[in-house]
């Protein structure tokens, strides 16, 4: 079974530029998550999708971050404009939730390491 794919793996941009990250979840997984992991911290959920609908985006800084999952499969996370404090690893995860349940295993991709200069 192929894992969660993410690209690019690394990105360096200057502040105020825009950047986009792509995620392809495990085939058949209905639920997709985007997390932000700042160095030395645990992952923090940014947004959760169930198929192509948003379940939870309460911690997404909506003034600069956006995400979509148009066909209920792959997803894109965008930052525009980027700030220095956005430097982090952006992790995508998926699970086979059929409903917004609790306790299903989340499978993480390798992440995209973003450095904002």
């Amino acid at each position: 079974e192929a894992g969660v794919a993410q690209s690019p793996r690394y990105k360096i941009i200057e502040k105020r530029q825009s950047v986009a990250f792509w995620c392809n979840p495990i085939s058949g997984h209905a639920t997709l998550y985007w997390y932000q992991q700042i160095l030395g911290q645990g992952p923090k959920l940014l947004i959760q999708f169930q198929n192509n609908g948003v379940v939870d985006d309460s911690q997404l800084p909506k003034d600069r971050f956006s995400a979509e999952r148009l066909k209920g499969v792959d997803s894109t996370l965008k930052i525009q404009p980027a700030k220095l404090e956005d430097s982090a690893v952006y992790l995508c995860a998926s699970s086979s939730f059929r409903t917004s349940g609790n306790g299903e295993t989340q499978y993480f991709g390798p992440g995209t390491r973003l450095l904002v200069l």
Binding site: G40, G42, L91, S100, N102, Q106, G111
Partner: protein, 113 residues
């Protein structure tokens, strides 16, 4: 109330020793407590998980101990090996407003050969 506090921040253990990582939570709505293992350059991977209806769960060299009254849980790695060197995260989630998986801050484990 959503926080999960993890300690220690870093841990160095000799090969064959026991590694112990502790976590504490406040939200009584949490009812699922997984531990994730993360190697450099990789995403976290589920290691072992427990629900509060049991006080202990063991899988191979890895054991979770759970104390519901103290709202604490811990990961024990028996016979620690250099290949166990990684960052370990505890996490918790529940139903309703707590369904989001909340992670601890991580413990960087180094097992010396």
């Amino acid at each position: 109330q959503q926080q999960v506090k993890q300690s220690p921040q870093s841990l160095i253990v000799q090969k064959g020793g026991i590694s112990i990582i502790n976590c504490a939570y406040e939200n009584t709505a949490f009812d699922y407590f997984p531990w994730y293992q993360q190697f450099p350059g990789k995403g976290p991977a589920l290691l072992i998980a427990i629900r509060p209806d049991v006080s202990e769960k063991k899988e191979g060299r890895f054991t979770i101990s759970f104390n519901k009254s103290a709202k604490q849980f811990s990961l024990h790695i028996m016979d620690s090996q250099p290949g166990d060197s990684a960052t370990y995260f505890c996490a918790a989630s529940g139903d309703g407003s707590a369904r989001q998986l909340t992670f601890g801050s991580g413990t960087q484990l180094t097992v010396l050969p």
